[in-house]
Amino acid sequence: MSEPPPAPPAPAAAPTGVIHDIGYRHYQGRRLGRGHALAALTGHSLRGVFGLGRPARAKIMPFLLAGIMMLPAAVSIAMMAILKQRGIAYPAYAGIMQAVLAVFLAAQSPGLVAPDLRFRVLPLYLSRPNSTADYVIAKLAAMAAAILLLLAVPLTTMFVGELLVDLPGPPQTSHYLAALATSVLYALLLGSIGVAIASFTPRRGLGVAAVIAVYLLSSAISGVLVGVLESVGRHTAALWAWLINPFFLVDAVQNWLFDTPSASGDGYPPGIGGPVALLAALVLIILAVTALLFRYRKAAAS
């Protein structure tokens, strides 16, 4: 901090305003544009779902749940190696682990959207080349990718294990591929429903409760109706009641497309059941995305 020596008093009026160049540099690289912004936001959101780039406390829950998702795969490989028999079937994986997937969806989707709404930072995102639709797509893609990872990693681990153990008979490649293809539908349906519900409240706790409430309600209503309809002998109606649960809805699509055994252990409505289930899943996804677009059109203005 060296004071410059006092200048001798100038006789004439010197210029009073001076712009100093203190070395700020403008960005002169290539402008990467909207597509790149979308990819960056998607990547950042996906990292956020697993708590990467956040403190350790944010990583506990997602990695704990991802670890629980791996447990059946590990047990299954151990069974194949030691007992020489198959454990859990590939197509039934998501159906059996549905509670864990639902908890993951509920725990992580509010974290994806709630803080931005709560701190009203959407205008900051929108001052960049991306639009509200881009924001919604990025958040949905991140959640769907996270669910897909949660399903595809254990399935693939189990398949590699099966190949390495080399059980007698051909490997169940078709079942593995069917389960992998169905995971995409699981990811899209669960991701869009979870993010859509979570986006309606800026409070994370309430968002978690709302998402899990929708899952628990659908599974409980489906369970009660199946039990009661079976007991009064309306078997076909009971098969339809399974579809109220979103996990069995997707499983019914898998059952129809790939002819895999049903995870409900009871079968699904024959004939038009499969196409109706696929249609219902697609309608649900479209409804959720539309709701999100409307929600963010409003939120961006506030």
């Binding site: 956040r54 994370r204 978690v208 409760a209 599974s219 039990g227 009064v232």
Partner: protein, 238 residues
């Protein structure tokens, strides 16, 4: 118990979107009971299934979660709890007040609709309606206390709560019989079984265990929550 704090808490819980969820859950229970009557299977077995799977197994923990954490967690999240804590009110009194508010919500939104749905299906038959009403009340009080404590202990109260309700009580409890001893839902069913004479309801926990368990858990949770409030630190989110 402090009437002003109680009034503010009631307003906070009932005045937001939270109340929509709290109304929706019991409405669905009544709707399901009506559907069961309509398909003509309003017998004792169907009623007990509805009560076990929906009323006690789903609605009660969800409402407990929303009411129990909702009375205190949003305030801690916002940091507005500091205005409450800086008043000359003893912290255990605050905890007790919040607990009373949450428990009364559960009585109104969980226990009453449970009784109403049972009554719609069976009238007074075999004491199913009264049994599950009392069971939901006892379970609701315990849930309110436990989730209130969770709300004070952690920022992730709702997530931890659903892991307890979904993974421990429903998933682990289904396969490991010992886990049912530590399940509030099972204690609620024990109360229901005690009053009801229905043959379709079999509780897996003895009354001699459930009563002290509910008392210990409820009183212990409220006391611990009060104790934690005395040294609450407000740190940033995550």
């Amino acid at each position: 118990m402090n009437a002003v704090v109680a009034g503010i808490t009631y307003r906070a819980v009932l005045g937001r979107r939270r109340v929509l969820l709290m109304v929706l859950l019991p409405l669905l229970l009544i709707a399901l009971a009506l559907v069961l009557r309509w398909v003509g299977s309003a017998d004792e077995k169907a009623a007990v299934t509805l009560m076990q799977v929906y009323a006690i197994g789903t609605m009660l923990p969800l409402l407990g979660l929303i009411a129990g954490t909702g009375t205190i967690a949003p305030e801690i999240d916002d940091g507005t709890i500091i205005h409450l804590l800086s008043k000359p009110i003893s912290r255990p009194v605050i905890a007790v007040t919040k607990f009373v508010v949450a428990a009364s919500m559960l009585a109104v939104f969980a226990a009453l609709p449970t009784f109403a749905a049972g009554y719609l299906l069976l009238r007074d038959e075999a004491g199913v309606a009264a049994g599950f009403g009392v069971g939901a009340l006892a379970g609701g009080v315990a849930y309110a206390a436990v989730f209130l404590l969770l709300g004070v202990l952690t920022r992730h109260a709702v997530t931890v709560g659903i892991i307890y309700a979904v993974v421990w009580e429903n998933l682990v409890g289904r396969f490991v019989p010992g886990a049912r001893d530590l399940s509030i839902q099972q204690w609620a069913q024990t109360f229901a079984d005690q009053i009801s004479t229905s043959g379709f309801l079999k509780s897996s926990v003895a009354m001699g265990f459930a009563v002290p368990a509910i008392l210990v858990v409820t009183i212990g949770s409220v006391l611990w929550a009060g104790h934690r409030l005395r040294s609450l630190s407000l740190t940033g989110e995550e």
